[in-house]
Amino acid sequence: MSISTSPRRSPKRKRSESEDAHNYDTSTEGSAALQYAYDEEMPSELRTPPQEQEQDQDSEEQDSAAAAKKPKLERPKQLNYTPHMTLRGHKRGISAVKYSPDGKWLASCSADATIKIWSARTGALAHTLEGHLAGISTIAWSPDSLILASGSDDKLIRLWNVSTGKPLPQPLVGHANYIYSLAFSPKGNMIVSGSYDEAVFLWDVRTARVMRSLPAHSDPVSGVDFVRDGTLIASCSTDGLIRIWDTGTGQCLKTLVHEDNAPVTSVRFSPNGRYVLACTLDSCVRLWDYVDGRVVKTYQGHRNEKYSINTAFGVYSAIGEEGVDMAEEEEEGDVEKWAFAVGGSDDGRVLVWDVSSKEVLQELQGHDGAVLGVDISGVSQLMATCGLDKTIKIWKRRPVVSAAATNGAHEDETEITLAVRLPSATRPAQEDGLSTNATPVVGTPVASTEEG
């Protein structure tokens, strides 16, 4: 299924003035996803269950103008994310990475009780937020990118002023055990938190009080998320349930249970708010239509049996043969986009799936140990991953370099596999590069521009 936005609906995001002119890709490519995520009228095809066969029709309908203007592009069968930077500095495993909504910052939290704010663009360490007494499992950005919320094992949720690096004086106190998951409401006035104490708390940010306690689960709440308009909350737990809650009333609207009842480790609403993506410890990522209460897609290929990994949604578009930069294409404004989902793996890989076709678009290797956090920058072609190996890796999307891909990768099966395996081939080299870069000076980009 393709996720496409009509040209008029993807207004150009104003580039921030602070960015340098020679800035490589603060492109607004990703803003489309963000845009439709907050758009009232979502693309029609997102309202229907993703059907592979509908893809062509939809794209034709939606982009008839574009098609007329430009030769129709095939959906790429692979993506080419390449290691861009490796950020080091945390002393223990990193539990989550999150790009700020404005795309400027990358926040990472770690078991060493610190949060680090990195410049998304340069990878420079901006702040180290210290104050928690125990390791931090989860972070969440406020929609205005000014506040970062962090949930720690010390049972506190702290709110940090990102610009000063200081915590707000009043933490959110109330959980009886480790905070495990957090999400900011789209308006930024509420925080939902899931904890080891099996409760989901809805906090009022301004008063730092619990607004509502949702008697949610019988096991630690591993993931929470707000839908894009803030009216729904999804929570999941290792008791195998995914629950959809009404924010206003606190009513449980839906409980999603898979037959196998495998522990669910993360849940995330799709940008259009129609589905939830949930990881379970049976090495599956499932896309649920929560209205019908059924699994729409199941993505596999990774290994997930122990850790609570995160997922992220992203969009990609067909890249022309000449390898035009995304930014330029975005300027043209009629790019057909498809959605993909990213998830880590216990074995250190990162997998990218096409949402509709369930194909593995790319398999990124680079982490040494489970990949716990993945995030995709909303505004640039960047993907950040982190894991138990105390490093954050920034991946940048490049045009698919292999000739086969330019010729139409889908035709040649072997080529695809090649292309997909490309990063794995370069893995040793990459690792060497990383290991050589092990300097005490932290936070500098590794400048890992090496590509396979």
């Binding site: 060493d112 125990a134 009886a176």
Partner: protein, 1282 residues
């Protein structure tokens, strides 16, 4: 038959009472031959004799005309002028004859035998009392005939010429009910021997028939027995119908039977055919009367009665109807009479309302006439006997004229004529008017001889003086009428004027006033009523005192007199005494002596006693005693007092004194103004208190303490004494609520204001310190300190004693061991300080009160501690690595550290091994920097002073301090310390912390962020509550792992709660095992009750009460039909109607639980267990599948042998109800409309938020391996579900 009167003769006006006999005679007399012939025709052969006899009787009648009633005689004699009264006149006779009686009755009346012959019901009574019968057809026929034969005035007399020539056929003569007795008509066989089986043939032949004649029986006058009397208990009303053995009494008495209907078989007088009319104008012509009444039917006769004495009409008439056919419609006399009664009654003829009543036999008419005549006679008698000679009875013509102008009293006074003799004579208005007493005399008698005013007393009244309205008795009714709008009681009249008296009440007074306001100067006829209103009765009236009062007054007066007399006597005596003691010098001396004595006493008090007293009160002098008694040193208070004084003297106001409107204090702003005790009181003060925040949690029922005293109006010395007290107990004192305020104001005596402002208000002074003292004591008792294990171990024997009782050395030990914040330590320290000081003082004054060995002991102790120091140092130093790394290591005392030494060392080594290799010199540098930085810090806590008794340490380290950065900085005070520290840390691995200052600052920041404190702290900054650090650092990096239930119950709030309750119970059970089970149950009950009490609002109380009532009734029913399914079904229906509010939430027992959201009464149905109904096989399959899927809970409920309710996937929330070994609910399977249902109902009263549980009743599998553990936590838990 002479007719002398005018045109009205022919209709006899009246039948005067007592003339019945005569009438009969006349009727008999009037029997004409034709009538007889008719009768003959109709009658049977044996009636012939009767007719003949009747002839005879009529002859007799003629002869018996001499039997006249005295009335009629009198009439004939008296009214000579009234020709109409001729009773024996032919017309009268004729009419009587025509009017009433049948020939039969006539005949019977005359001759009883004849009547018997006629076969009529024999009348046992005398003819006088015999009821007059309505006209029967033969008579009417006879009348008609007679009328025609009489011929004379027939047409004139009967204007209703529509009289039918023949009576309606329907009214034939009634058949006789019984045949007249005669000779035997035959015989009846009573006994036939042929039919008697008992007899032999012979006998039969011999025997003859026995027969009885019939037809000759005498007529039995006895009525047949009433069949109802055969019903037992009929008369007493106790009877019951046999077929209806109900409780209700059968009442055979006909309440609502239709009225007795007269038909042609009816016996007795028929329905009324005549009406009596009265109330009309007596002078109304008979013709008009007849005309009026003929509208309802054909009038046969109009009889108007005259007064036999005066001959005047009485205004009473009897109208008799007859049957006619009008417009082809048969119109019976009965119907006409009825119609006349119903329609004409209350109607008017002219101005008079007519009263019309049916009169079956003319008795009513008779009664009325008699009454009227009696009244008239009495009146006449009265008139004759009156002192004032009544005017001669007006001549008839005059009377008529007067009557003509009857209605308004024309001769009412038209001007101030004043002649009472011309009181209006009210003409009689029909019979009732004649009842009224003689108006003239009455009017005269209305003027009271005595003055009305004297009789009125206290009643409100209005006077209309005779000057404005002339005094006339006759005016009273008019005045009454005039004032009818007002509720007066009586109108009285004397020669001074009219008195309208009203009710003696407030209402009456109001009415009086209203009347006066509205009617004063109003017109009465042509006069103006000049009124005079006396609302409160006769102003001059004086109540005569009651005898008791008289006695009391007399006694009083006597007393008074006596006192006066005694006073006078006393005066005399005194005067005498004075005269004797007349020595002014002596008096002056006496005075001086008194003054001098006072003075000296005052001086002794102020100059000698008080200083001595004060001196003796000096706290310093009483240390020993105080110590003995265990009282605290008041020196702190002294300090406070001083500062407060300064504060006060500076002219500033203490904060609790209310400020005036302009900001300066209310009373002290103008210290010189005259003191006004009432000035500050009242509203302003109240408002001030209102403004203070009300204590919302205060118990309103509790008696509030007296409102704060008006302290600012008192002298300064009071202020000083009260200042602390007020601050101390402000919590209580200021606890105000608006509602209580008003109450207080009311209940407080007014005089209190002045009392509080005087300096002699002792109670207020004494009260507050007492209060304060009590409070302090309470507080000390409550705050029992809790010491941790180590401290207890060290100081176990000391902690039970009061610090004041401890030896100095012990005190020191306490101070050194306990943390500084400990209350006990503070007290000990204070005590130590006091002792030190007193010892110093003693030293100063060369007093040696303490034995020397104390010093030695102290010294030894100190030395020991000094020795201890270096020992403990290395232990502290050894784990500095750990300190650096974690920054928040917990350490309490050195001793503790010593104990932990080994473990920490091991840890440090491990940390060393793990940590990255860090250059040693860096660490040294950091250390140095840090120490440099610290050295600059001021040493605040060092106390510099000379020691004179023993060598003292320059610095006393606080061993409670947490050795974080601040702690170290506090601890290391000089270069020497630093050197030691360096030495101690020398063998520790270094750790890269970057910029040392930054690092240190950050650590401090983190500490302050989490604990809210800067600087050295005694309490560990850490994570509160349950915290198990994850090995990898945080939960997410740790990975998902199964959390055991035991661990969960350590941090899940609801489990902790239950766990705690359980532990409590267990502890209780352990403490008192004998009553363990009971106590546990009791405790739970109490807890539940408390919960109810705390949560229940008034509304819920009401609801509970209502429910309770319902339950009681329900239970009663339940008892009646114990445990039957029917009543469960009733409750099931009840459930359907009103569902109990329940919710599911996390449960401590297992996963989820169901909780009551309202208070549920015992036996109430709570919820139905709903789910899919499956067979056993399916259930087994599902169970396996669920197990495989990992559905942790079993939601299968066995309903029948092969019916299992599976609520796992589809089902109600009842499935969440957990098992408990002491459940509060039970599940019952009932059949509702043929299908079994599982319903849960309450076994106990369940309070809100209580978890619902029932016993799952799994089969016990004692030997089984997979037994399900029970977590219900009840006192009598069996441990396993199965």
């Amino acid at each position: 038959m002479s007719h002398t009167g005018g045109g009205v003769e022919g209709v006899s006006r009246s039948v005067s009472p007592g003339t019945l006999k005569r009438k009969r005679e006349m009727a008999g007399f009037t029997h004409s031959p034709t009538a007889n012939t008719t009768a003959d025709k109709l009658s049977s052969s044996n009636t012939f004799t009767s007719s003949r006899l009747s002839h005879g009787t009529s002859a007799d009648g003629r002869t018996t005309t001499k039997y006249r009633s005295p009335d009629s005689d009198e009439m004939q004699q008296s009214d000579s002028g009234d020709t109409l009264r001729g009773i024996g006149s032919a017309s009268s006779l004729a009419s009587t004859a025509s009017s009433v009686f049948s020939s039969n009755s006539h005949a019977f009346a005359q001759n009883r035998k004849a009547s018997l012959m006629n076969g009529l019901t024999p009348l046992t009574s005398h003819s006088d009392s015999s009821p007059p019968k309505p006209s029967s057809p033969p008579t009417s026929k006879a009348t008609a005939n007679m009328a025609s034969t009489n011929g004379l005035l027939a047409t004139a007399r009967l204007p209703a010429s529509d009289t039918p020539p023949e009576p309606p056929a329907a009214h034939k003569e009634r058949p006789r009910m019984l045949p007249s007795p005669g000779k035997a008509k035959g015989y009846r066989v009573v006994w036939d021997p042929e039919l008697d089986g008992k007899l032999s043939k012979e006998e039969r032949k011999r025997a003859t028939l026995r027969k009885r004649e019939f037809g000759t029986e005498k007529y039995e006058p006895d009525p047949p027995p009433d069949p109802r009397l055969a019903i037992p208990g009929y008369m007493s009303g106790q009877c019951r119908a046999k077929d209806r053995p109900s409780k209700a009494i059968w009442r055979p008495a006909p309440y609502n039977l239709p009225p007795y209907k007269v038909d042609r078989y009816s016996v007795g007088p028929g329905e009324p055919q005549q009406v009596v009319a009265l109330g009309f104008d007596p002078f109304l012509p008979e013709a008009t009367l007849k005309l009026n009444f003929s509208t309802y039917g054909s009038v046969a006769l109009v009889q108007s009665k005259t007064d036999p004495e005066t001959g005047s009409f009485l205004g009473i008439a009897l109208i008799k109807y007859r049957d006619t056919i009008r417009d082809g419609l048969e119109l019976t006399a009965v119907a006409a009479a009825k119609r006349a009664e119903t329609e004409f009654n209350g109607e008017r003829i002219g101005l008079h309302t007519i009263k019309v009543q049916v009169d079956r036999e003319g008795r009513r008419f008779k009664r009325y006439v008699e009454n009227a005549l009696k009244k008239a006679r009495e009146e006449r008698a009265k008139g004759r006997s009156a002192s004032i000679a009544p005017p001669p009875p007006p001549p008839a013509v005059a009377a008529i004229r007067a009557a003509d102008a009857s209605a308004p009293p024309l001769n009412a006074p038209k001007g101030p004529s004043g002649k009472s003799s011309t009181a209006p004579i009210k003409p009689p208005e029909g019979p009732r008017a004649s009842i009224a007493p003689n108006p003239k005399s009455a009017a005269a008698s209305l003027i009271e001889e005595e003055l009305v005013l004297s009789k009125i007393k206290r009643k409100p009244y209005i006077t209309i003086p005779h000057a404005s309205v002339p005094v006339l008795g006759t005016t009273i009714p008019h005045l009454k009428k005039r004032l009818k709008a007002y509720d007066w009681r009586e109108v009285r009249l004397d020669k001074s004027g009219y008195y309208v008296v009203f009710e003696d009440s407030k209402r009456g007074e109001d009415e009086t006033e209203r009347c006066f306001n509205e009617c004063n100067q109003a017109l009465l006829f042509t006069y103006k009523m000049g009124m005079e209103c006396q609302k409160y009765g006769n102003p001059n009236y004086e109540r005569s005192p009651s005898p008791e009062r008289v006695i009391v007054a007399k006694q009083k007066r006597e007393n008074f007199d006596r006192l006066k007399r005694e006073d006078a006597e006393d005066m005399e005596i005194e005067k005498k005494n004075r005269a004797e003691n007349m020595a002014p010098v002596q008096g002056a001396l006496e005075q001086l002596r008194i003054e001098l004595r006072d003075r000296i006493m005052g001086d002794i008090k102020t100059r000698i006693a008080i200083p001595v007293f004060h001196e003796s009160l000096d706290p310093a002098k009483h240390t020993a005693k105080r110590r003995k008694l265990g009282l605290p040193d008041p020196s702190d208070n002294d300090n406070n007092k001083g500062s407060a004084l300064l504060f006060h003297k500076a002219g500033d106001t203490p904060p609790h004194i209310p400020k005036g409107r302009h900001g300066y204090p209310l009373s002290h702003s103008k210290p010189l103004r005259p003191h006004d005790p009432h000035h500050q009181r009242g509203r302003k003060g109240e408002r001030e208190r209102d403004r203070l925040p009300a204590n919302a949690f205060a118990d309103e029922r509790r008696r509030r303490p007296a409102p704060p005293k008006a302290a600012h109006t008192r002298g300064l010395h009071f202020k000083l004494q009260q200042m602390y007290a007020e601050e101390e107990d402000s919590d209580d004192e200021r606890r105000t609520s608006i509602t209580r305020d008003t109450e207080d104001q009311e209940s407080r005596p007014l005089s209190r204001a002045s009392r509080t402002s005087t300096p002699f208000d002792t109670d207020s002074v004494a009260e507050t310190p007492q209060h304060k003292r009590r409070k302090v004591e309470d507080w000390e008792e409550e705050e029992k300190e809790v010491f941790d294990g180590l401290q207890k171990q060290l100081l176990g024997h000391l902690l039970h004693k009061e610090p004041e009782d401890l030896a100095t050395r012990e005190l020191e030990q306490v101070v050194n061991t306990l943390p500084r914040t400990s209350k006990y330590a503070i007290r000990a320290r204070t005590e130590l300080y006091i002792r030190q000081r007193s010892k110093d003082d003693d030293d100063l004054f060369q007093i040696t009160s303490r034995p020397k060995f104390d010093f030695v002991a102290d010294y030894v102790n100190d030395v020991a501690m000094a020795k201890q120091e270096p020992e403990s140092r290395p232990s502290v130093d050894s784990d500095v690595k750990a300190v650096k790394e974690k920054a928040k290591r917990k350490r309490k005392t050195k001793k503790q550290l010593m104990e932990e030494q080994e473990a920490l060392k091991a840890e440090a080594k491990r940390a060393k091994a793990v940590s990255k290799p860090i250059a040693q010199e860096t660490v040294a540098k950091i250390e140095h920097k840090e120490i440099e930085m610290e050295a600059v810090e001021e040493l605040q806590h060092a106390r510099y002073k000379f020691t004179h008794d023993k060598p003292r340490r320059t610095v006393e380290d606080d061993r409670d301090m947490i050795l974080d950065i601040d702690g170290w900085q506090e601890l290391i005070k000089d270069d020497e310390d630093l050197a030691f520290a360096k030495k101690a840390f020398a063998d520790e691995a270094r750790y890269d912390i970057g910029d040392a200052k930054l690092w240190a600052w950050k650590q401090k920041e983190i500490k302050s962020l989490n604990s809210g404190a800067y600087g050295p702290v005694q309490a560990e900054t850490g994570i509160e509550g349950y915290y198990v650090p994850n090995l990898t650092g945080c939960a997410r990096t740790e990975g998902v792992k199964k959390i055991l239930n035991e661990e969960k119950s350590k941090y899940l709030p609801h489990r902790i709660k239950v766990q705690r309750a359980r532990e409590e119970r267990q502890a209780q059970a352990k403490a008192d095992p004998s009553v363990a089970a009971n106590a546990a149950a009791e405790a739970a009950k109490i807890a539940a009750a408390e919960k109810i009490a705390s949560t229940a609002t008034s509304r819920s109380n009401r609801v509970n009460n209502r429910r309770l009532v319902n339950d009681i009734t329900l239970q009663r029913q339940t008892l009646a039909t114990a445990n039957s399914d029917a009543d469960v079904a009733i409750r099931f229906n009840q459930l359907k109607k009103r569902k109990k509010l329940v919710k599911f939430d996390r449960s401590a027992i297992h996963g989820w639980g169901l909780y009551a959201e309202e208070n549920i009464a015992v036996t109430d149905l709570i919820i139905e267990y709903v789910g899919e109904k499956v067979r056993q096989k399916i259930a087994d399959l599902r169970e396996i599948r669920y197990e495989k899927q990992g559905v942790g809970s079993s939601y299968l409920f066995r309903m029948m042998d092969d019916e299992i309710v599976d609520a796992t996937k589809k089902g109600g929330i009842a499935r969440f109800i957990n098992h408990s070994c002491s459940p509060n609910c039970t599940a019952k399977i009932i059949k509702v409309e043929g299908t079994p249902r599982i319903v849960i109902y309450a076994l106990k009263d369940i309070s809100k938020n209580e978890e619902l549980t029932y016993d799952y009743k799994f089969e016990r599998e004692l030997g089984s391996t997979d037994r399900i553990p029970c977590l219900c936590g009840s006192a009598n838990c069996k441990g396993f579900l199965n």
